[in-house]
Symmetry: C2
Subunit: 327 residues, 2 copies
Amino acid sequence: MHPATASRALNPETRILVSEETTRRVLAAAGELGYRPNPVARSLRTRRSHTVGVLIPDLNNPLFPPIVRGLDDRLAEAGYVALIGNTDGDDERERVVFEQMRARHVDGFVLATAHLRSPLLAEAARAELPVVLMNRLAEDYSFPSVSVDNERGVRMAVSHLAGLGHRKIAHIAGPQEVSTGLNRYRGYLSAMAASGLPADPGMVVFARSFSVEEGVRCCRELLGSAGRCTAIAAGNDMLALGCYAALDAAGLSCPADISVVGFNDMPFIDLLHPPLTTVRFPHYQVGTEAAQLLLERIGGHSGPIKILYLAPEFISRGSTAPVAPGS
Amino acid sequence: MHPATASRALNPETRILVSEETTRRVLAAAGELGYRPNPVARSLRTRRSHTVGVLIPDLNNPLFPPIVRGLDDRLAEAGYVALIGNTDGDDERERVVFEQMRARHVDGFVLATAHLRSPLLAEAARAELPVVLMNRLAEDYSFPSVSVDNERGVRMAVSHLAGLGHRKIAHIAGPQEVSTGLNRYRGYLSAMAASGLPADPGMVVFARSFSVEEGVRCCRELLGSAGRCTAIAAGNDMLALGCYAALDAAGLSCPADISVVGFNDMPFIDLLHPPLTTVRFPHYQVGTEAAQLLLERIGGHSGPIKILYLAPEFISRGSTAPVAPGS
DNA sequence: TTGTAGGCGTTATCAC
DNA sequence: GTGATAACGCCTACAA
């Protein structure tokens, strides 16, 4: 037989070069023999691995599973697979995993882990590989990215609280080296201004990480300060969970004494007592859109860099209530 | 230069064949040039992709992220990466994903998705590829596997309830085509016998899936039956969550009216009201051990097939209480 | 439309 | 201890 002809017949892209009759026979034979083209050999020849690297802090963060599924599903449609790397927010691990994936000749990267000033971004730029940021933003527009409009999300939360009569609205801000932390903080400031509420610096506490423990610590700090707040807009649901615990420990009740709003709408967060009022984040779509953007770049699309924002949705549940008359 | 020699020097396994001096020079040169061996070419030659396929039902099930991290971490140590495939419990999707991974020449599989009578297992056997079952069991010992001792776990739950004075202990059983569902049901039966409690068939309802909705349905059914139970041992935490909802809807309180025990100790399940009493499952270790078993098979280890059970741990929290005197 | 030939980067197997 | 050579399976000029 004629291996080259068979190859042409097997590959949908080159099939037009082959007579229908031959194609038919080749496909039939391939079916009989259970023939499967070897993607390794193909990769060696075409220098395409049909593989992309995905760096996230930690798959155990409930934020990520739906995002990863979105990525995976869209990538699979295009014949790609994702290699997932967990970095635990550690810069060194991040670098190592990135290098290992490069060594495996991934066709591109989706980074959900980059600190705003991470050396990884410079390295990625040098690599001249397609890179898409997810749930993070490069402020200088040097990389395509997909994220939720965090500022708008927090504004929705704050104006909801203001609408309930709250004036002393505190914010537990996430880490400011991370774009979500920074932009939600900005959203808080602008929302307070827009609602005509005073921007009291004592009403903001900065968490060192998006964790329950930090939420507890920050909430405790807020409770200890003079002129106590009547509502808390937390940087995310984890921090809000910390508030629940701290309020409980302080003998305060949510929402009777203090209202709490989260951000993300984590799975099962609606089952807590009280069910958490929060800002929903279209996790799955963040994944599919990031995959889409990356596929476009991999496909040689060299148009302008796209910065995609997905709209957040405000979810009103039981953790917010009108301000108590006494306050 | 001498490509073959360089190759030998670069590969730790064959380095002994090369003089120290040469090795030193090669490594130095490689360092200078930023040389990275191409794993694709290596795979083509050695027929090893250093890649393994992992099939799970759904990454969004909170059970899986920690398991996958365990797998990933152990595999990474050995220079392997995991390709994660979500099958959503669909036999056809399962087959397709499996085939695609085979086409990518994975070196082995970790299956967490196989129904007891899934055609996938036969296919896997035919493939003569190393396969490890995770959180599932092949009853005929034809595959290595890692799972929790489900029977023992449920026995711990039931004897805890019996110790609290409960005699009418119901069970919401998971799907019986899945080994976890089946074995936990068996555990319930044997525990009831061991505690000298009657095995009333009316006290068992079978869920069609491990989901909150099915938990609601089954719990409702239990509540509707005569001689109502005073405690429920649910097949897993999701089903227990369904019980919470159904009890709520029926105006009953947990644990005052009915005690509930789950299985898995899902993340955040301790934050519910009441915090769920459950059986902990060492998720991460299931992942690392499955990876270990697979690596052994891939490494040509051809000893007897290992069936590994990890011990469950009983976690007593607020959803169980002594039986009410009136009952 | 089909055949031919060379090469992708690595390593196994010789021979030296 | 090192060099030469072929081969892994596929793709793609180019020639026929």
